[in-house]
């Protein structure tokens, strides 16, 4: 059981997922005292359903600030992994040797090319990619099926074990003196003199800064600090196979092979509201596409499947906001918690420590929806 010996913190983070842990870790490594409040085990947890990609290709093709922010995070990732390793966490299994977006038709190839070309034009050469035809792809993935036309290869992409990342962040946060409290969903937030008072299921606390990183629950929490976050869930389903010899050297949007050898497969995007049931028809479709990509997987056993809810804003991009009413209160909502973990732990935590969001995050305010 965690003993809490103090009630006043430099920062309180509401949310124990990847966003909250990354920011909390980032604040703690700057010497701030951090209390991280996590909800019940049964809460909707996007982090536990994360696919584990550190993914750049295609992100923000039509929203440049997001492309820049994603690229920045991808560049910071090796530093984060190294730092977390030094704190004694588990090996994260980070690989950033590039990633593939495998196309099953000429139309998919063309679409992919246009999107990535647009991104490259904006980024002035910082973003690189290459379209691989069937022959070139076969050199990397000899087992591709006859329906595979080619792939987009992007050297900035990679993957990591999201569960180990969460654990490493938690270990790092705790090593730096931070405190994690579970079953402590936030009930009320109010001004209390020069501090902020936070009332939770596990008692009342005070802090100088509060960061709302509670995923879909941010929609209810944000108004408590004078902010608004319009969010909706988007379901994603994933299947996992038994462990195998190496099947693919690089991760793709549909399939990635973990360090342990199991394949994670999934790319569904469903608007089915607040429910996380696994649907046989959807996972069957996922299996079908995986076999079109690598037919030799036919006899491989599926050992698990699950569904989780992505945190989506109206346009799908993150929301970073600072309260005007309560200037040391921040609300952060996004999916892609693994990819953005490094930017959150370093840059964003820095802004929050200095109580002012940086310029490059200007475009991410909820205000963009009010125009």
């Amino acid at each position: 059981m965690t003993e809490i010996t103090k009630s006043n913190f430099d920062a309180i983070i509401a949310g124990g997922g990847l966003i909250g842990l990354s920011i909390g870790y980032g604040l703690s490594r700057r010497g701030l005292s951090v209390l991280l409040l996590d909800a019940e085990d049964t809460a909707f947890r996007a982090a536990r359903g994360n696919f584990g990609l550190v993914w750049v290709q295609g992100k923000g093709a039509y929203f440049p600030p997001y492309a820049d922010w994603t690229m920045r995070s991808s560049e910071l990732w090796p530093k984060l992994a190294e730092e977390l390793q030094e704190t004694g966490g588990p090996a994260l299994g980070l690989h950033q040797e590039g990633g593939l977006s495998i196309c099953l038709s000429e139309a998919e190839m063309q679409q992919r090319y246009e999107k990535l070309d647009h991104l490259r034009a904006h980024q002035n050469g910082r973003f690189q990619f290459e379209m691989l035809d069937r022959t070139a792809l076969k050199e990397i993935m000899p087992g591709i099926g006859p329906k595979v036309v080619g792939a987009a290869y992007c050297p900035h992409d990679g993957h990591v074990n999201p569960l180990y990342l969460m654990r490493a962040l938690q270990i790092g946060l705790t090593r730096n003196g931070g405190v994690c409290l579970t079953n402590a969903a936030v009930r009320r937030i109010e001004k209390k003199g020069n501090s902020i008072g936070v009332c939770t299921a596990k008692g009342d606390f005070e802090c100088q800064r509060i960061v709302l990183a509670a995923g879909l629950a941010n929609a209810e929490l944000a108004p408590m600090v004078g902010l608004q976050q319009s969010l909706k869930p988007q379901k994603g389903q994933i299947i996992v196979t038994e462990k195998l010899d190496q099947q693919m050297a690089l991760p793709s949007l549909l399939l990635r092979q973990t360090d342990e050898g199991g394949l994670m497969i999934g790319d569904s995007h469903e608007d089915t509201g607040f429910e996380t049931s696994v649907r046989p028809d959807i996972v069957s479709g996922i299996a079908d596409r995986a076999l079109a990509t690598l037919p030799a997987l036919a006899d491989v056993g599926v050992v698990r499947s699950w569904a989780a809810l992505r945190v989506m804003s109206k346009d799908g991009y993150p929301i970073y906001d600072q309260s005007e009413k309560m200037p040391s209160a921040f609300a952060i909502s996004c999916h892609s918690g693994v990819t953005l973990s490094a930017a959150h732990a370093f840059d964003l935590a820095g802004y929050i420590a200095e109580a002012s969001l940086g310029q490059e995050l200007d475009g991410f305010s909820q205000r963009r929806f009010n125009v």
Partner: protein, 460 residues
């Protein structure tokens, strides 16, 4: 095959599933029975129809008692689908299954889950060595293939252990020893419930006969405090310490372990049904009412899967669930239901006694040495689980992510209860507070090709 609809889908063709089908088909309800074995009968009446031809006497009368039920089931008119893997029941009451490499969905008005029991894990040092089997496994070999081993050692407790050792003796096999882990403490807590158990005099008499015959034909060793299996690449013997401190070493290449059975909750949990911790039987069981209705109005659970009662209680539970469903089609059968309820209670009257007598002590529920494997699939030892606990894993699901225990193919069937109890004794919380692995479909592994073979149309 196109997706199909049945009024009643019964999963499992053991005594509960077969008996339920008799009642639903008699009421004229379209019934399908799906089973993962090649023949009906479940584990208890496994291979019964084939064995009737040669009728080996050593299997005992209680086995052949199932013949009438199996025959009635064969004649009842239910669609019977053996050799199928049910991998999921959706919240829309679709039953997803694989048959001969092809996936199908079958929809139902009502589903009866009758998937029976599994043996409680018995993690003693060396229990993963080839040559060590569960007693249930040894008995299956006897029923399925008329196969037995001379000079085997039986270790553990519970009716199935005595029955199987007795069957071995009657089959003319030399049993090297029976090591009984039932302790004085268990006797003391069970004795107050002996009078209630007297309502089942036949069962008590049968148990006495088995134990008497075992005593006369082999060495019966009591009062043991530690057990370990010796061997490098396969089992070579058992070593046990008596409570007197004496040590006994027995050479044996075949060692059969058993310490009771528990409801097989993998399908019911993965379906999202409510479960509760059963303090008396020390296991999880689905929350059901007296007719077997689960926390889902359309799903009933019958037989050992709803709580251990044995084959005869299971058949009555199948009747009871089926007649409750028949009543919901507007055909009430008050008298029949009352009769089944009373008979069910009667069969269960021996459970308070048996559950207490054969609940293994914590020494045998939890592993005794650090190197003992807890999770067989991922080869995680007791020390490995303890290391995960020391680094802060607070529940079974987090522990899974920390050390991989419970991540393998068996989906925790061989380690779940042990891991859960290790967490409980580490944190001081109750078993109910700790909870169990979050189980997800597929309940049994299916291949990608099988999964991909599912065809629509899909409901909206």
């Amino acid at each position: 095959m196109a997706n199909q609809h049945f009024q009643i889908v019964i999963i499992g063709a053991g005594p509960a599933g077969m008996a339920a089908a008799l009642t639903t088909t008699k009421a004229g309800l379209e019934t399908i029975v799906i089973d993962d074995q090649k023949d009906s009968g479940g584990q208890v009446y496994r291979n019964l129809q084939a064995n009737q031809e040669t009728s080996p006497a050593y299997l005992g009368q209680s086995y052949y008692d199932g013949a009438k039920l199996a025959q009635s089931f064969a004649d009842c008119g239910a669609v019977y689908r053996p050799d199928c893997t049910v991998w999921q029941i959706t919240d829309m009451h679709e039953v997803a299954l694989v048959s001969r490499g092809k996936a199908e969905l079958i929809t139902a008005d009502y589903i009866i889950i009758a998937t029976g029991a599994i043996e409680r894990p018995m993690p003693v040092k060396g229990w993963t060595l080839p040559g060590v089997m569960s007693v249930g496994g040894a008995q299956t070999l006897l029923k399925q293939a008329a196969l037995g081993a001379d000079n085997a050692v039986f270790v553990g407790s519970g009716p199935l252990l005595y029955l199987t050792a007795w069957q071995y003796i009657k089959a003319g096999l030399a049993v090297r020893a029976v090591i009984d882990i039932t302790g004085e403490k268990q006797w003391r807590s069970a004795i107050p419930f002996a009078p209630l158990a007297l309502l089942q005099p036949d069962m008590l008499a049968m148990g006495r006969k088995w134990i008497g015959d075992i005593r006369r034909n082999t060495e019966l060793i009591y009062s043991v405090s530690t057990i370990e299996i010796i061997g490098q690449s396969q089992a070579q013997g058992v070593s046990c310490t008596l409570s007197s401190g004496d040590k006994i070493d027995i050479d044996a290449n075949h060692i059969f372990l058993h310490q009771g059975v528990v409801p097989n909750v993998n399908l019911t949990m993965a379906t999202g049904l409510a479960h509760q911790w059963d303090h008396q039987a020390h296991c999880w069981r689905p929350v059901i009412d007296v007719t077997g209705k689960s926390s889902d109005e359309q799903i009933y659970i019958a037989g050992d899967g709803g709580g251990i009662g044995g084959a005869k209680a299971a058949a009555i539970a199948g009747r009871l669930a089926a007649s409750a469903i028949v009543a919901r089609y507007g055909k009430p059968r008050f008298l029949a239901q009352l009769y089944y309820k009373l008979r069910h209670l009667h069969y269960l009257s021996i459970r308070p006694f048996l559950d207490r007598l054969y609940l293994p002590s914590a020494d045998f529920r939890l592993a005794q040495t650090d190197e003992t494997i807890i999770c067989r699939c991922e080869a995680v030892s007791k020390a490995g689980v303890n290391a995960a606990l020391a680094s802060g894993a607070s529940g079974p699901n987090q522990l899974k992510a920390f050390c991989r225990a419970g991540m393998g193919r068996c989906q925790g069937r061989s380690c779940g209860l042990v891991v859960q109890e290790m967490i409980a004794s580490h944190t001081g919380q109750s078993m109910a507070e700790i909870g169990y692995y979050r189980l997800r479909p597929p309940v049994k592994p299916i291949t990608l090709a099988e999964l991909a073979s599912l065809e629509g149309p899909w409901p909206d």
